[in-house]
């Protein structure tokens, strides 16, 4: 499995390429990318340095475009993307059919990677996105590798990617959850609610089930493992160390039970 890790700075990208990552992905604060600005690279100049670094390391760099654009922003965002593609970024991670359609219509040739936020849960949806030029498919959080077997093993093959995210798992399907943009200091998906039968927490898969996603994904032939961006560089290093160790175990044919046991000890962070 190739590790695809989020980087916020050239320093992070350097460490990532030296420690097991084959690709890095970045957001820019003025191109919507589904996370707060602190998780983005500070500016285009830094992104260009990361693109150059990726090439020097025989790796790849990807640009995140996984949040919707307001129609009025299309022309200036597209100019920016054109510049970045010309500079050599290797792929664009996209979510919206209309954005992909617009970019391709303006002659922007790149490797289009379908974001996990794109609401594609089956082979027919992937076939639709393939008509728009998608070359790689990131499984949505809420689609297990077992359910996605038809996509992973499709002919012609499409590259597939899953998330590594032991510290956090959205309770609900992103990006359709209205609790995500909750403008208050709490989110209903993260607090204890009262129901007639006692306290209620919106459930999410536990660590063993998260381990199963990685185990089954590897077994099915998923090629890429996506490591989240984090506000904490030390945390990122621990994510990578754990991911490399887990991939090694999978490559050696570890049993599901033993993999779950090892997964219990992974580093967990809330700074993502």
């Amino acid at each position: 499995m190739i590790i695809v890790a989020g980087a916020r700075t050239l320093k992070e990208a350097e460490w990532l390429f030296a420690n097991g990552a084959g690709e890095v992905y970045c957001g820019l604060p003025d191109l919507p990318n589904h996370r707060r600005n602190a998780l983005s690279v500070k500016d285009e100049a830094e992104l260009f340095r990361i693109i150059d670094l990726a090439k020097k390391n025989a790796g790849k760099s990807l640009l995140l475009l996984n949040q919707s654009w307001a129609p009025g922003d299309y022309p200036r965002f597209t100019e920016k993307v054109k510049r970045i593609v010309a500079r050599g970024v290797d792929g664009l991670v996209v979510k919206d059919l209309h954005v992909i359609d617009y970019l391709r219509g303006r002659g922007i040739k790149s490797s289009y990677i379908l974001s996990s936020l794109a609401m594609a849960f089956n082979s027919h949806a992937v076939a639709l996105f393939r008509e728009y030029g998608i070359k790689r498919f990131i499984l949505p959080y809420h689609l297990t590798p077992e359910e996605a077997l038809g996509i992973i093993k499709s002919k012609p093959r499409i590259e597939t990617e899953i998330f590594y995210y032991p510290g956090h798992f959205c309770q609900n399907v992103d990006p359709l959850c209205k609790f995500c943009d909750w403008s208050r200091d709490y989110k209903p998906c993260k607090i204890s609610l009262r129901s007639g039968s006692g306290p209620f927490l919106m459930p999410a898969p536990d660590l063993p089930r998260m381990a199963d996603i990685m185990y089954e994904g590897h077994k099915a032939g998923v090629k890429y493992l996506k490591i989240p961006r984090t506000l904490d560089f030390d945390g990122l290093k621990k994510f990578i160390k754990d991911a490399v160790s887990l991939i090694n175990l999978l490559d050696k044919g570890v049993s599901k039970e033993n993999f779950r046991l090892r997964y219990k000890d992974v580093f967990v962070s809330d700074k993502v």
Partner: protein, 230 residues
């Protein structure tokens, strides 16, 4: 103004409950385990004696054979099957294989997902894919789609969707891992002092209650959702 009522597809009542609606919305926009199978769909047509709209959520590959069987058995050129589609894969398949026998309505989840697109893109996409109607449940969603000509609008009352999950909140597993239908006949009111109003959990959807019907000349169908999953 036509009316509809939502019923999930499993199980069907034993006899016609005499529902006062012009049509039955059969299935679920929020959980694939509440879809009628081909046999249930056929039974529903005889049982209710009213038009049945097939209501579907996000779909994994495993669900498509049954849906295609329903289309092949119960849809025809003179009697097109109306399907509420929340899945881009189903939209794509219906357009490629079943465009002459189906009529698609954009479900609430897919309507939310596509709402940021330009009007020009949506008009082209809807025309290419046989989407003739949109389901809405909030003034915001309704007004967004009311900008498009040639698109009929349904409004769902009294609940507006807030979130959907594929990790079953009733049985604590993925919806594809086997379902005991623990949610049937139930819903959960979820409260917390900081919430302005309680949320309602019904099958795999979380909802807020807002019974008001917006003033809009574009609504030509109102669909009522019961307060429990039935």
């Amino acid at each position: 103004m036509k009316t509809g009522i939502i019923l999930n597809g499993r199980p069907l009542p034993g006899k016609n409950p005499g529902l006062k609606a012009d049509m039955i919305y059969l299935g679920s926009e929020f959980c694939q385990n509440l879809l009628p199978g081909p046999a249930e769909f056929g039974r529903a047509l005889k049982l209710f004696g009213k038009p049945i709209v097939l209501v579907t959520p996000f779909l994994t590959d495993a669900l498509f054979p049954d849906i295609e069987t329903i289309i092949r058995k119960h849809a025809g050129k003179k009697n097109r099957l109306e399907i509420v589609a929340n899945d881009l894969g189903l939209v794509h398949l219906a357009a490629k294989k079943y465009s002459s026998v189906t009529s698609l309505s954009l479900g609430r989840l897919l309507a939310d997902f596509l709402k940021p697109a330009t009007d020009a893109f949506l008009e082209k996409f809807f025309s290419k894919n046989g989407i003739e109607r949109v389901e809405t449940d909030s003034p915001e969603l309704l007004h967004r789609y009311a900008r498009l000509k040639n698109l009929a609008c349904t409004y769902h009352i009294p609940y507006a969707h807030m979130a959907v999950t594929r990790y079953c909140p009733w049985e604590n597993h993925w919806v594809g891992e086997g379902c005991r239908h623990a949610c049937l006949g139930k819903s959960k009111k979820l409260a917390e002092p900081r919430l302005r109003q309680p949320l309602l959990l019904m099958n795999c959807g979380y909802f807020a209650e807002d019974g008001k019907l917006p003033k809009s000349g574009r609504i030509d169908r109102i669909v009522y959702s019961p307060s429990v999953n039935r």
